[in-house]
């Protein structure tokens, strides 16, 4: 029982980070049908920003601001220099464009800083443990889940209540109709990229607090899981992204913990098993859990 609860907490921790990233991916897909493989690079940007900030004597309390601001900036910038010019191109072209940006980002950090990991100190309390009824928690678990919950709540409010959020949802459903209502195309797309950047920034904060280091390829692993989470949920669906992220996080953890019980020696194949399940899922339900009817129309 303790083992189960423990792994649920772990799974939700990882899963909520996936969810934040998947939410950004699904948001961008909604407004321009781009599966943004460069989205994970925003984590890298945030990590390097905090590395430099720390080099110049920054304090931990300001770190989140720096990380989020840099991720927002980078996200808006990618739209401005690259995606804007292929906005009407095929999804294939859009996807490869984002891949190119991902490669470029790797290369730039390797050349500008170093191919090697650059570590910086972390706040001392992150891995402090405390117990509630036999289950030991780390402070970071609580922080992760609380921050994610707050961010998701804030996201829900923005997209339910604010004019910006409603415009983005409208534009995601029918871009031309939104333009006819006076929504400025460039502004709503930039806004969506900024928001996705902020979500990635929050994710980056959580990642960096756990392992305070910057590395050129650190975004890629997160990205792949996040893309898969977004597609599992149904690209374009907000709820789907969150559900997809959490499911993937739980699946990750539970398979690692429980697979050896089912079949001895199989724990080393846990990732393979998870990916097999995912592949099987896509065969059965290619459009994801929450099918978005208008996602097909271009």
């Amino acid at each position: 029982m303790t083992k189960l609860l423990q792994s649920l907490v772990d799974g939700l921790g990882v899963g909520s980070t996936y969810a934040l990233l998947a939410l950004g991916i699904t948001l961008i897909f909604g407004v321009m049908h781009l599966v943004n493989f460069a989205h994970g690079e925003l984590i890298t940007v945030g990590a390097y920003a905090s590395y430099f900030f720390f080099l110049h004597g920054g304090s931990w309390w300001w770190m989140p601001v720096i990380i989020i601001a840099s991720a927002v900036l980078a996200s808006v910038l990618t739209e401005l220099v690259a995606f804007r010019w292929v906005r009407t191109a095929s999804p294939f072209t859009l996807l490869l464009t984002s891949f190119a940006l991902e490669r470029l980002s790797h290369a730039l950090w390797q050349i500008l800083v170093s191919p090697k990991q650059r570590a910086f100190p972390k706040p001392s309390w992150v891995f402090n443990q405390f117990k509630i009824a036999d289950i030991s928690f780390e402070v970071m678990d609580v922080v992760t889940i609380a921050v994610t919950a707050m961010t998701l709540l804030l996201t829900a409010v923005v997209f339910k209540r604010t004019l910006f959020g409603i415009s983005v949802r409208g534009a995601a459903e029918d871009f031309d109709a939104a333009r006819l209502m006076g929504v400025r195309a460039n502004r709503v797309i930039s806004g969506a990229f900024a928001f996705a950047g902020a979500l990635a920034g929050v994710a980056a904060c959580l990642i960096v607090m756990r392992s305070p280091a910057a590395e050129p390829s650190m975004g890629s692993d997160w990205l792949l899981k996040a893309v898969i989470a977004a597609v599992i949920g149904g690209l374009g669906s907000f709820t789907g992204a969150v559900v997809g992220g959490l499911v993937l996080g739980l699946l990750d953890t539970l398979s690692r913990v429980y697979l050896p019980d089912l079949a001895e020696g199989w724990d080393k194949f846990s990732t393979a098993v998870v990916f097999m399940l995912i592949a099987a899922f896509f065969v059965i339900r290619p459009e994801g859990v929450f099918k978005v009817a208008h996602a097909e129309r271009v």
Partner: protein, 235 residues
Amino acid sequence: MLEVDRITTRYGAITALHDASVSVNAGELVAIVGPNGAGKTTLLNTVAGLLRPATGSVRFDGNDITGAEPARLVRAGLALVPEHRRLFNDLTVEENLRLAGCTTKAHERRQRLDEASELFPVLRDKWTTSAGYLSGGEAQQLAIARALMSNPRLLLLDEPTLGLAPTLVDVVFDLLVRLREQGRTMLVVEQNATRALRLADRGYLLRSGRVVTTGTGAELAADSGLFDSFIGTAS
């Protein structure tokens, strides 16, 4: 108020509109009729900025607006109720209206929302329903209410009665009359040709992307050869 001067619009290889000229004066209701594929929707979409004409110009209040961004045109006072309504089905009625009010200030937007709920009592009852669940008549009223949120001086309507039951067609026509009484200028594309022409001050008949005939609404409606020219046997 609006002068469309000899515009030609193409979709890739398709020329949907040839040298079409249309004008609308302040306070008028102008009807555009013609068979499917005549280029009526293309004409409205070109005026509203969704399409860019290959040649020709569009002027609104004397300013050249050829190929301008729709968002700019809405701010200049021109709004389109698009073909098939194109509501945001995932958004509630209120959200549809708020989105459409994005060009106005917050207090003005609240005022317009109140006006809309007064003018369209049907919508008031469905305020928090997703637009996707509205019936055809409700949806059409929302589409018009949505276009009115920016308080346009010129309202373009594309097939506002398409797919509606006869009684609902009456509702929409009554609405057009009321809007005209409020002094709203309108350019309407309509499949109920005779009825729209009777209501209109002036009308244009389009066929194969060209303006074939023009005249006062009553003249065109009374023309016994309308059906023939409509379906093209006269040419």
